[in-house]
């Protein structure tokens, strides 16, 4: 790998990192604004225009509060908990394809941190690790409520990972590739997976709510039963990291949903726009502008799903714990297996018939 390639990759990864952080930061603001709108009140409106500086004010408050560690807590693991939560939340954005390619002086630059042929497995592995931050922090607090919250989080994540993995398998059977870039490229021309996999999409989005510990599945921090759940003992920036990691996870899962089911950077009429732009502005500038439009469409889709998370949070009440487990094991997993069988049958028998009929 020569130096320019290395520098380009470093710059791409840095941009992806900063974008993830900024979007997560403004998700906290958007959450309060959406909550205000749904509950017919104003939301934050003092710091900056429309409360836009509110995230900065919150961060300042978190930083300058006293950093407190309980006397009987396991000190190192108490610090390691929020750090692990942030680390695993930020890792997943490396393989997400944010757009097509940029052309600069004949070089093609892919708008993706790492193009890997196991992309989706990497995301799945990182998601599976996400529970360690919560478990380690909850145990190290040396508090029964924290421990119960951590154990709830762990069992919830393990249960919903199974259904999530099974719903992904149907997508992999259709695209016969594990690379996220390849999966997006195959959805070109309105071949979005949502039209072929509506059931898989429903299972996947339910499981991602559970994986992000969002309402209606936010039992690990259920305040009526467990005080504050796994972060009862946490304060200042360590608490801030836990809450921030949740927003990063929300952005990542929204991006993954739009990549897997909604065609990523593809949009209707893409080829027409591309040919118009390249004929008007030349093959280099036109291509770059078309890529930028695609990236904007991708972020639009991802932001819509972040809004969807918030919409659900302020609409639906919390499940009971046995309802959560019944839904995960007795409803979603059989549904996902049914979806795999249907997809397999369709790929084997229906697809040749339809292609023969179309030709």
């Amino acid at each position: 790998m020569d130096l320019t390639e290395f520098l380009v990759k470093t710059a791409t990864i840095f941009v992806v990192f900063v974008l993830t952080l900024v979007i997560a930061m403004y998700s906290t603001w958007a959450e309060r604004k959406v909550a205000g709108f749904i509950q017919d009140r104003m939301g934050p409106n003092r710091a900056g225009w429309g409360g836009l500086l509110q995230p900065l004010a919150d961060a300042g408050k978190m930083f300058f509060k006293e950093d407190f560690i309980p006397a009987l807590a396991n000190k190192w693991l108490f610090i390691a908990g929020p750090s692990l939560a942030m680390l695993t939340a930020l890792l997943a954005s490396a393989v997400i394809p944010f757009g097509s390619t940029f052309r600069i002086n004949g070089h093609e630059i892919v708008l993706q941190g790492v193009e890997s042929n196991i992309g989706i497995l990497y995301v799945f592995g990182v998601v599976a690790l996400g529970v360690y931050g919560i478990m380690v922090g909850g145990w190290a607090s040396n508090n029964k409520f924290s421990l119960l919250g951590a154990i709830r989080a762990a069992s919830q994540n393990i249960s919903y990972e199974v259904a999530m993995g099974l719903s992904l398998i149907a997508i992999l059977m259709m695209s016969s590739s594990l690379s996220l870039g390849e999966i997006v490229a195959q959805q070109h021309g309105m071949n979005w997976n949502i039209f072929y996999q509506p059931l898989g999409f429903l299972i996947f989005i339910t499981c991602s709510f559970a994986e992000c510990n969002r309402v209606p599945f936010d039992l690990p921090e259920c305040e009526t039963e467990l005080v504050g759940g796994y972060h009862t003992e946490y304060g200042s920036m360590k608490l801030g990291f836990y809450l921030f990691a949740e927003y990063i996870n929300m952005f990542i899962s929204s991006a993954i949903i739009s990549v897997l089911y909604f065609g990523g950077y593809n949009y209707p009429g893409m080829d027409w726009v591309y040919s118009q732009l390249t004929s008007a502005l030349g093959s280099e500038t036109g291509h770059n502008i078309a890529t930028l439009i695609g990236t904007a469409v991708f972020f639009g889709k991802a932001l819509f799903f972040i809004f969807f998370y918030m919409w659900v949070r302020w609409t639906i009440p919390r499940f009971r714990y046995d309802q959560l487990m019944n839904l995960g094991w007795k409803k979603l997993i059989p549904l996902a297996i049914f979806n795999i069988i249907i997809t397999g049958a369709a790929v084997l028998f229906l697809k040749p018939v339809i292609t023969a009929w179309l030709n």
Binding site: I118, G125, A128, L129, Y132, L147, I151, A154, I158
Partner: protein
Amino acid sequence: MNSTVSFFYFLSFLTILSAVMVVVSRNPIHSVLYLILAFFTLSGHYILLNAQFLAAVNIIVYAGAIMVLFLFVIMFLNMKQDNEEAKTNIAKIAATIVGGTVFVILFGAYRKSAIPAFNPENFDSQVGMIENLGHILFREYLLPFELASILLLVAMVGAVMLGKREIGERHF
């Protein structure tokens, strides 16, 4: 020394260190966390061997599922380092003999085993990629693969049978 070799030595050092720390640490939670670190470094070795699929599956299955269950059980039992009972002398002597025998067996096996050499000219570096792995698994090794999946299915049915509540049995 090129970067791959130095990276290999760094990963090996980390693997062995964390494996030793699994045995040495007195707190069971620390042991589990070191074991997770050992799995990560093993995945690093797989990536050095260009076997990315194996690396990802190792993380998902071992670090993501099995070790979470380990941690789960240890947290439920709430083991503390101070209520660990002292071992008797007989247990210590027996452990030393067993450990020494296992070491001798492993060393002997290592001395006897012939590690197949590879030819750098016709070596296919893409052999660990998922497409090639799938072709090999479903063509040459189809029967062992299916047998292993049946074994896993039987184990799963057994686990469900064991965990199932009988009619009339009390909850807790």
